[in-house]
């Protein structure tokens, strides 16, 4: 394996295999009142990803917050075609678990190392949720590393 790739291990939440570009945030995401389910964009006023879409991305985030409508709103992103390709998250809640299940996207949690420290927006991420394995290829080597 080359120097700019590494592997994370975690627990399967929803199975499946996919790959894509990472979209990373350290902030939790609201469903109802926090995203536009037709476009997959974050709409919450003070969110650092406001205006960006997770459509077809590997969404790397701490987890869910806000209303109990979380799963239903994310469920609609599957119908509208705006769902993320996969979800990697660090805080398990009923909202994010049910959302992952009904979105039917490969999802992993309980990692051996913190994905929020290691994955950056733009990195190429392969997700094998059946085996709980994430392979990350850095978009750019940081100078000095």
């Amino acid at each position: 394996m080359s120097v700019n790739t590494f592997v994370l291990k975690g627990r399967k939440v929803v199975g499946g295999v996919t790959e894509g570009e990472a979209l990373v945030t350290r902030q939790t995401i609201s469903g109802w009142g926090g995203i536009n389910p037709m476009l997959g964009t974050i709409t919450e006023t003070r969110h650092e990803l406001r205006g960006q879409s997770f459509k077809d991305k590997i969404l790397v985030f701490p987890g869910a917050k806000g209303s109990s409508g979380w799963s239903a709103v994310f469920h609609m992103t599957r119908l509208s075609g705006a769902a993320p390709k996969a979800m990697l998250f660090t805080e398990m809640t009923t909202k994010v678990a049910l959302g992952a299940v009904v979105m039917r996207v490969p999802s992993i949690t309980d990692f051996d190392r913190d994905p929020l420290d290691l994955i950056e927006t733009g990195d190429w991420v392969k997700v094998d949720a059946d085996r709980g394995i994430v392979e990350v290829r850095k978009a750019a080597l940081r100078t000095g590393s």
Partner: protein
Amino acid sequence: MQMKLTDQEQAMLNGHDGKARQKAMQLLVRYGEALGAERLVATDNIAGVPGSSNPFLQKYYRQHGGGGYDAIFSFFDLDSDELVEVPKAAAHTCHLQGGYDPENWQLLGATPESFKISQESEAFIADRGVQILKTCTPYLAGNVPSRGDHCAWMESSAVVYCNSVIGARTNTEGRESTSAAMLTGKIPDWGFHRDENRFGSHLIEVDFPIESVMDWGMLGYFAGEAVGERIPVLTGQFGSADLIRHKHFGAAAASSGGVEMYHIVGVTPEANTLAEAFGGRKPLHIIPYGLAEKRRTYDNLNSKASDPQVDYVMLGCPHYSIDQIRDACRMLEGKRVSANCNLWIFTSRAVKVMADAQGLSKQLRSAGAVLLTDTCSSISQAVPPGTKVAALDSAKQTHYLPAIMNIQAWFGSTQDCIQAAITGRWNGVHP
């Protein structure tokens, strides 16, 4: 992780009780395994939004797999790939807020088409044995669990009330999990269903007496910001603790943070002592709440308003109790809502029947106010036409409404809000 199912659950999963219950059980197993739950737990108290429909879902399923309410329930509520006929609920289930007030739907901006859809999905689900409470406060409309009951509730303000004030047990469930629970009487045995997850994490030491509903709302808003998704334990003087104050505290804490349970030592049922509230463990953090924190919370809540010209006052978040409606009537006595302002008060259908019987609805009408049911301005995204500045007595509504409707909102006491409705101007008292 493989879940351990009972024989009865396994039989349901194998289709012994029909297709719909099989699909519901499949969804619960997928959900339970996603959580890492080891088993399911029986529940006979479910509060959700089964089968509720909107034009997007209607159109989508007309194009994919057939229209109709069985289709929406099968494909969306149960996340099934197969159309199933929806049988009667297997456990006591109520419908939370949503849809439109059957009397005032036009005021809420519903089109005849969207109102018809809301009426039809209501009839469909009522026929399946679901109680049409249409409120975010089921505990004010006849659904009051007992301590220790396992419930499956949605609606963050109801969930936190259920766990903290009643001592019943529920996670923040979602639409699909509550609909699956409705057909099976089961929910994953995870989180707040288990003793070890109900203890406090943070200690909030309150150093002045917490009295008014507004005091409780601000403290809840502060607590949610301070602990996020964790469990706060509060100490201090809470002599005035009553249902209304808990309702406003919990709703606020569940919106600024994700609080699903709190303890107040000497007040709430699982916190007779500090040690009991923390399960013998030490708090992760000790956080003071004094007058400075109270003022900062007030300023924070009022940071979205600058224009004193108020054109809309909304009360009833969470839905008003009959006592709150009576208090509002008393404050309005002999006065009228300003011609430049609207006053809308939201409650449940059950409480409205009481308000009608007591003549309170009529009093409100003659003062120029409107009593509405089923929803609120945030849920229905409906404010009176031309609204630029609202006044609210709910920290939760203040958290959501300005962002959802792109308007300004003042936060204050119910008295401040009623005064604003009468004069059309905000003159809230800074604590």
